[in-house]
């Protein structure tokens, strides 16, 4: 029997096999219960040091990773771009190498540049977890979305999931498309033409131009946050116009042929992409997503930390890009 492993890093869902994705989701299930215990902690990662290296603002993801790390008994350090040597002009690799010189074991990195996590992973020995890189991937967000959907619907295979909103700029959308299609879900996207990439069909997804059509078709809507900067950049005429045309409202959901599960990766703009009555309504699993986020991240850290010795040796022995 071959033992499945994730390898050294989690950079995205695109490089993972369906079995590897299932391994993470299955491992996350028992970790949910750990957070319900009187002592919310297990010693699995005792003695491991994990650095959360966040070059972009984040509340939910950073706190979720930190809870996951602490509940596995790892020691954690948070480094934010503000107030660190990054502000003095130090580059990503130098920052990480200096941290590594203090004998750390893992880095969770969030960075505004697509590919930053991979760039780092190829240059340091520690395990790297991508906590969101530019417009590329945000794998743990997609994994927690998938876990939440699987919990509620009992399966992913054959489900129809529509990702709504600013797909062009969204790493959450990309990771969701990779992960969901690998596990056999049907994926569609819906949003204004200016915010849907022209070649998105190449990823095997359907495009809906009207939110009503998406609601008619879908079992699940994953409603993305509309970044308010998009209006200034001219992608949409106004936030009110966006809400009128693409907002996921109670009135629109009332016309749905079936009960639709509503996800949102947060932070929400109530009254822009989503109606408050929907966000707080019975079909919303937005807070379940947050709860599941901790379990999924525990699973990822646990699987990477325990990485089989031969893989760890291989990663360390070859001095990957050490001179680059």
């Amino acid at each position: 029997m071959t033992v499945l492993s994730l390898g050294k890093d989690l950079l995205g869902l695109e490089p993972l096999s369906p079995d590897q994705i299932r391994l993470i989701l299955d491992t996350a299930e028992p970790f949910k219960e750990v957070s319900e215990r009187p002592i919310k902690k297990v010693p699995a990662l005792r003695g491991k040091t994990i650095v959360n290296l966040f070059f972009e603002a984040s509340t939910r993801t950073r706190i979720s990773f930190e809870f996951a790390e602490k509940r596995l008994s790892a020691d954690t350090v948070n480094v934010a771009a503000q107030g660190s040597s990054v502000q003095k002009g130090e580059n990503l690799v130098d920052t990480a190498r200096n941290l590594e010189a203090m004998r750390i074991d893992m880095v969770v990195v969030r960075h505004p540049s697509s590919g930053a996590a991979k760039f780092l992973a190829e240059r340091i020995r520690s395990n790297v977890v991508n906590g969101g890189d530019g417009m590329h991937e945000h794998p743990t967000q997609a994994l927690l979305d998938m876990l939440t959907i699987r919990d509620r619907m009992g399966r992913l295979e054959g489900l129809k999931v529509c990702i709504c909103g600013d797909v062009s700029h969204s790493r959450v959308a990309r990771s969701n498309i990779w992960g969901l299609t690998k596990l056999g879900a049907e994926v569609a996207v819906c949003g204004p033409q200016t915010l849907i990439p022209g070649a998105v069909g190449d990823l095997g997804v359907t495009v809906f131009r009207r939110i009503e059509e998406a609601i008619e078709w879908a079992d699940v809507l994953n409603v993305l946050r509309l970044q308010l900067e998009r209006m200034k950049a001219g992608y949409i005429p106004s936030l009110r116009e966006y809400y009128r045309v693409f907002g996921v409202t109670l009135e629109r959901l009332e016309h749905a042929p079936r009960d639709i599960l509503i996800l949102h990766p947060g932070p929400m703009n109530r009254g822009v992409e989503i109606d408050s009555r929907v966000a707080d309504g019975p079909h919303s699993v937005i807070l379940d997503q947050v709860t599941n986020g901790v379990a999924v991240r525990m699973a990822v850290l646990y699987l990477l930390a325990g990485g089989r010795p031969e893989l760890a040796d291989a990663a360390k022995g070859t001095d990957r890009g050490g001179g680059a």
């Binding site: 491992t27 028992p30 219960e33 215990r37 009187p38 297990v42 699995a44 596995l72 325990g306 010795p309």
Partner: protein, 183 residues
């Protein structure tokens, strides 16, 4: 792969008799069924604990609370063996404070699983006493841990493997010694 020599230690009836004897000893050890809780270690220990509670219920007319515990996250060898593919369920149905807890497992070998189970139990509460019941004691301890109740003692060498089969998972009940099988 070479064929390994396997000796049957307990057959179906042997496992049943051993469990019946263990059930009696557990009640005697705890001085009755008051406050008694059985906790099976995943996976086969959980099935054995379930059967022991059934036997005790039949004989004593008392429902014994049954918990299951997966000790994977408390192991001390994550680095050397790598993560177990899937961590099993941990479910402890009652508050353990002040209870008479008996941990149930299939095979007692190095004692490291029991060490992990004791650490995990300490994070769930403070039982009045904790005992250990195993179907097979195969020797080879690496920690100062002994069972209070043993169904069968098997003299196994370090290179041997003891397989416990339970009908719930394996379709039959048996204990087998596999020479050179490596546990």
């Amino acid at each position: 792969m070479t064929h390994l020599e396997s000796t049957l230690i307990l057959d179906d009836a042997g496992v049943r008799r051993a469990l019946e004897q263990m059930a009696g000893e557990i009640v005697a050890l705890a001085g009755g069924t008051e406050g008694l809780v059985l906790i099976g270690i995943q996976r086969r220990g959980a099935d054995l604990a379930h059967r022991l509670t059934r036997t005790i219920a039949e004989r004593e007319g008392a429902e014994i609370p049954l918990g299951v515990m997966d000790i994977t996250l408390y192991r001390d060898d994550l680095q050397t063996i790598g993560p177990r593919p899937v961590v099993g369920e941990t479910r402890l149905p009652v508050d353990l404070d002040g209870k008479w807890v008996v941990i149930v497992d299939d095979v007692l070998y190095t004692g490291r699983t029991v060490r992990a189970a004791l650490d995990q139990l300490a994070d769930f509460g403070r039982p009045a006493r904790i005992g250990l019941a195993v179907l097979v004691d195969r020797g080879g301890r690496e920690l100062p841990i002994q069972a209070d109740i043993v169904g069968s003692v098997v003299a196994a060498a370090p290179g041997d493997r003891v397989d416990v089969c339970v009908s719930e998972l394996d379709g039959r009940d048996a204990v087998e010694l596999v020479r050179g099988g490596k546990q």
